[in-house]
Amino acid sequence: MNQLQILAKLAWRNLWRNHRRTIIMISAVTIGVWAMIFMTALMRGMVNDMLRDGIQVLPGHVQIHHQEFRDDPSINNLIPETEAELQKSFGQEDFVAWASRVKVPAVIMSERESRGITLLGIDPAAEAKISFVIGDIVEGQFLEDSADSGVIIGQKLLEKLDTRLGKRVVLMSQDPDNEIADRGFRIVGVFDSDPDIHEETYVFAGKETIQKMLGIEDRVTEVVFLGDDVRNVEPLFQRVSELADSNLDVKRWYELDAYLGSMVNMMDGFVLVWVIVIFLALSFGLVNTLVMAVFERIREIGLMLALGMKPSSIVGQVIVESLLLLCIGLALGNALAWILVTSLKDGIDISGVAQGMEMMGASSILYPVLNMRDVITANVVVLVLGFLASLSPAWRASRYQPVEAITKV
C-alpha cells in the first residue's frame, strides 16, 4: 500500500471512532450544502422566469432604434431606413428570429372608458417566434397578417375598458405632423400574461394597418433580434451592429432593461455571498471538531511521531479526515437538493404574494432551477475553504514534541 492509501484508511477509521460527533458534523454540512444549492436554485428559477417574461414581452435580445427613440419614444424618431432597405440588410442573414415593429404611445377608448397604452404594430408571422402574445390568446384569435384590421388586447384592459371581444375600440395617437391620428378597430383577440401588468400596457395591431393610420408609409420604430443564448448576446450584437447603418442605436437587452440586467448580475454575486456565509457558519463547527479530534489523540499522534511518521503525514491525515467528512456532507447535501428540486419541478405556487412578485417582475409560480455552475461553485467553495480551515488544526497536530505528547495525560 502506498502512503496516500494508508493515510486515507487511517483518516477514515479515525472519523468513525466517535460516530456521534461525526454524524452531527456531517448533518450540519449536509444541511448547509442543501440550503446553499436549494436556495440558489429558487433564486435562479425566479430570475430565469423574469428573464423569460421580460425578454419575451418585448426586448428580444438585441434591438435597433433611431438614436433619439429611447429617450423620446415618439413617432418623429422613426428608423430612417424603409422596410425594404431593412429587409435587404437583415433578410439574408440566418437570425433565430427578427421582426420590425411600430411602437408608439397611444390612447385606447371604448364606449365608456379610455386608457393610455403602448400600441405595437407587428407582423404576426415574424413576431411568432419572438413575443409572448401568440401562445397566450385566451379568447378569439391572433392577427392574421400585418394588414389585419383587428386589435389584440389584454384581459385586464378588456375589463377596465368595460368592453368585450368583437366590440369596437378607437385608438388615438399622433402622426409625424402632430395631428391626432385615430382609427376604429374591432377586438379580435384577448391575451393573458403573467405578470398581469402587460395585459394593461400593450395593445397589438397589424403593422401595415398602423403604418397607414399614422401615415408613415413603410417605416418602423424598432427592429428586434433574437439569438441563441440570452446570457451571451455579444455575437448577435456584433453581427447586428455590422449590418445596421451606423447612425442607428443598437442595444443589448440588458441595456434596454437595466432592472433586469442588474438583477441577473446581482444573482451571480448573491450566489457566492450566500455560499460563503453558510460556509463561515459551518466552519466554526468544522474547525472545532478537528481541534477536538486532534486533542483527544495527542498521545497517539505522539506515538506515531516517535515511531518515525513524518509530521507532513500527520498534517495529511488530519486534512484527509476533514475532506472526507466534507465530501460525505457534500454528497448528501447535493443529493438532497437534487431530490427536492426534482420533486418541485412542477413549480411552487406562491400566488398568495403574486402582486408582490409582480413588483419584482416575477410570476406567481416559482420553478427552481439547478444550475450546474452554481452547484459547482458551492462544492468548490466548500472544499477549498474547508481545506484552508483544516490547515491550522492539522499543522498544530504535527508540531507536537513526541515525548511530551506521549506523556500527556
Binding site: 444541511i31 404611445p105 372608458e113 377596465k160 391626432i180 454575486g269
Partner: protein
Amino acid sequence: MNIVLRLAWRNIWRQPRRTWLTTGAMVFSNTLLIFMMSLQFGTYDLMINNSLQSFSGHLQVQAPGYKDDSKMRQSVPQVRTLAAKYRQDPVFQNVAARGGAFALASSEDRSYGIQIFGVEPEFEPGVSNVPGLVKQGRYLGDIDATEIVIGAVLARNLRVSIGDELTLLGTGRDGSFAAAIVTLVGIFDSGVADLDRSIAEIPLGLFQETFAMESAGHQVVITTPDLSLVPAAKIEAENLLPTGADLVVHDWDALQPGLRQAIQADLTSAWFMYMLLVILVAFSVMNTQLMSVLERTKEFGIVMSLGLTPGRLGRLVMLETALMGIMGLLLGVLLGTLVTLWLSVTGFAYPGMEEMAANFNLPGRMYPKLSMLTLFGGPAIVFAGTLASALYPALRLQRLQPVEAMRAA
C-alpha cells in the same frame, strides 16, 4: 458566587479554544442577523413610506370597484363636501379630494396618453409629496384655473416648458368627448420614472367640468400621523361615511397590495436564511457540548457515585451552554451594533442596487435602522437554539451508570 455557576464557568474554560470557536459561531451569526434585519426593516419602512407618500395616502374613500377597475362612473358624489367633513375630524392628519381620468395630452409637436388627476390645490400638499417636488414653475393655485402640473420626463417627451399650452382629450363620465386646453405652470421631478412619465395634475374644479363629473370625484385621500394609527382611522372613516352612500374605505394595504406582498415574499426568504444560520450554530453547539460531556464521563461517574444526581449534572451542562450563549449574545450584539451603526451613518450600497431600488421607490443607498426588534430578535433566537441543542447531551447524562462511567477510558 453560586457553586454550580462557578463550576460551570471553570468548566467552559478548560478548553478555551473550543469555547472561543463555539462562541465565535454565535457572534458571527448574531452580528449577521442584526445587520441583515436592521437593513431589511429599514428598507421596508422606507418602501412603505415612499410609496404611500408619493400618491396613495394611508386611506382612501372610493366607490366600490374603483380600486380594481378605476372606471369614470365609479365616482364619489359631492366629493369636496365629503372631504371637508373628514377634515373636521382630528383623527385624520390630512384629507384631500381627487378625481382621476386617462387622457391624451398633446403639445405642439407631441402627444402622450397620461393619467390626469383633478386635485384640490389647497389640500393636496398634505397627502402627496408631488406638490413639494415641483422643481420648475409653481404648483396649482385656484381650484378652477385652467392650469396643469406634469412630471419632468413627460415635459421632456412633450417638449414643453412653463407657460406652454397643452390639449387634453379623453372620455367624460357620461361617455361624452372631453377636451380642455390648459397652461403648464409647474414641472415636478420625483425621480420615480413612472410617476414623472405618466402623471399630470389639474385643479379639481377644472377636472369636474372637463370630464362631466358635476360635483363628483373618485377618491378622498387621507393620511394619519403614523402607520400604526391606520386601523383605528379606517374604522372612524367608515363611521363617518354618509348614511346610505355606496362607498368603501380602503387602507394602504388594499390600495397597494403589491407592497405588503413584496415585503412578505422577501421576509419569507429571509426567514429561511435566518433559521438556517441558527440551525448551523445549534449543530456546532451540540457537537461541542456532546464532546465536553463525553470527555468528562469518568469525572461525572465519580461525582455521581459521590451522590450528585443526574438532574443536577444535566443542569450544570445546560448552565455551561447558557454561559457560552450569553457571551455569544453580548459580543454579537456589541459587534452587530457597531457594524450596523457604522453603516447607518455611511450608508450601504452594492453594484446594481440602484436599478433594483428604483423599482421599489427606494434611493440607491440603503441605511440600516436599529431597533429593539432587530437588535435582540435574532440573537434571542440564536440563544434559544443554543439551549435547545444542548438538551441532547444533557439528557444523555440521565442514563449514565456511575460504575461504568468511572471505568470509561
